[in-house]
Symmetry: C2
Subunit: 337 residues, 2 copies
């Protein structure tokens, strides 16, 4: 029931996702009276879906604390409960981000060894695709949080993006060791000295994000959110300028007609729907947050991310990696004790 | 002597700037043996220039602390000394940013009422041009620093960009009052309650920067630097994708030929050289930092910014505004005392 165009957009998205992942079944949480007629029109999708009726849902205006207390029968909460109970392999929602995070933390709890969940997303670069986290779950992060984000990002790049030896960069205002604030410098020291089999590149700057200098960009939720939205805004500005240019004269319009096919490829490559689906990492369960304003294609991509993570058994891999980390962290401590 | 292509690029930049501002004279600090032959070839520029010879210069690798101690006879230091002594109206340098800032602080000192200098720059938006600060001078800022940046940014937008009532936004991860870390929330409270005649819009997010939601974007140097470089990187990615698209087929190449004129306009509008020249605000004197890798046109634009600020008597206006701020800050205190 979340997002601007639910439940129609959600069902249409499930329909696209079904064509890509024919084995996936869907549990749909929400108002049966609105969902059922949509399924009745789709004979292929219908047998793969189960509706779990509830009249309650979380709105975008609800504060997370209110949603937690008052939303125990909401579609969002019931979906997370189904994940916790083992009925679902992943949750995908286009609803209220803060409420989804708060409920997921309470119901699913954190993976042992991870203190705080992070929001991650992948995006296009000059060299392919990279992942960045945290994008806004934690406004302030200490060095340990950043190291844990690095581990989760590394596992994501390896298992979902398919990078064999992902490189990790810490977002900073310069590449020299003495740059940046204390947390980011301390995290760099930890990552440089870890026994973990991670490839720590060092500090990266804002322009390294799209350059694809590293596969995983690690940062606190404040800087990460600002970087993500600045990139989105800049891409929008650029396409606005282009649109204006192609409309500016008859000759330019003709040029557009010739170049249209090639330009559509650029549009596809930078289409925000293609990168829809922010991951809540660090929870005992796969939760993917779709953009609220997306359409069916964007929602299908968010489902795709969830399917990839479930199929790759993402959370078990994070657990294993964290056990390594713990073992590595304990070793030097024992040596100095 | 600073930047990748000095002194040739500096002289060529001065030559372009001279055509725009025929009244401006130049003091050139550096190696006379290298500068003099360049001026000999330019009969128009030569009479407007004075060379102040020094064999010393700061390199890009010098730490600011080293440059301060060992660079007392460097071209950078002598230029700042000339500004302090009233011989120059402004300093423009393409050299080491940290050294330029450290020397400027020591020699020029801060405007009374400003605790820390900020680096500011203006950039294109959907609605025209905006200014953002701090872009990296202060990795950590308290609420008072941010309020002072707001005042300086407001004066800059009014006097140099020519906006009659500039609006101010604080960069944050959401627009709601409870969002973000303590410093940014405290700064918002101060700006909301100030008696200053500034128009405080409230919080803005990363995508508001290029949307032009406000005329002045205020942030700490860590987030500001990341936002600036992320925007630069995204613009670069987008133009790379476009370049690739236009080369991808013969038809696309033909399209490019038709649209070339219009596309060049976009290129001009987003040309980093157009926005070259970061301002060091809050100092008793006008210091403009050109990008080290820029060319003559970019350097001429940095000179243009310095000329604009000097002609508009920017620093006196900041002083006057700060006296207002001080008076406003004292008023409620007196009322509660």
């Amino acid at each position: 029931m979340g997002g601007d165009h639910a439940p129609e957009m959600v069902i249409a998205g499930a329909n696209i996702a079904h064509r890509r992942f024919p084995d996936v079944h869907f549990l749909l949480f929400g108002d049966e009276a609105r969902i059922s007629p949509l399924l009745d029109r789709n004979a292929v999708l219908k047998p793969l879906c189960q509706i779990r009726h509830t009249p309650d849902f979380v709105t975008n205006e609800d504060k997370p604390s209110v949603a937690l207390r008052a939303g125990r029968r909401s579609s969002m909460r019931l979906a997370i409960d189904a994940l916790e109970g083992g009925e679902a392999a992943a949750v995908v929602s286009a609803g209220n981000t803060g409420a989804l995070m708060a409920m997921s933390k309470i119901v699913l709890r954190m993976v042992p060894g991870i203190d705080r969940p992070a929001i991650a997303s992948y995006f296009p670069t000059m060299r392919g695709e990279s992942v960045m986290l945290d994008l806004g779950a934690n406004v302030e992060c200490d060095a340990d949080n950043l190291v844990q984000f690095a581990v989760m990002g590394e596992v994501f790049a390896r298992t979902v993006l398919g990078v064999s030896q992902p490189s990790i960069g810490l977002l900073n205002v310069g590449s020299e060791e003495q740059k940046g604030h204390e947390e980011v410098r301390a995290a760099a020291t930890l990552l440089r000295n870890t026994d973990l089999p991670v490839h720590f590149h060092g500090f990266v700057e804002g322009d390294d994000i799209t350059a694809g200098t590293v596969d995983v960009v690690v940062t606190d939720g404040f800087s990460g959110n600002i970087a993500l939205k600045t990139a989105e805004g800049t891409a929008k500005l650029y396409s606005e300028f282009l649109r204006g240019a192609f409309r500016s004269s008859l000759v330019a319009r003709i040029g557009y007609l010739f170049a249209r096919h090639a330009l559509n490829k650029v549009r596809k490559r930078t289409d925000p729907r293609r990168y829809n689906g922010a991951l809540f990492l660090g929870l005992n369960g796969i939760v993917v947050k779709s953009h609220g304003g997306t359409d069916a294609l964007g929602f299908a991509n968010a489902i795709g991310v969830a399917v990839d993570m479930a199929a790759n058994d993402f959370n078990s891999k994070i657990r294993a990696e964290l056990e390594h980390l713990q073992a590595a962290a304990n070793k030097p401590q024992a040596a100095t004790g």
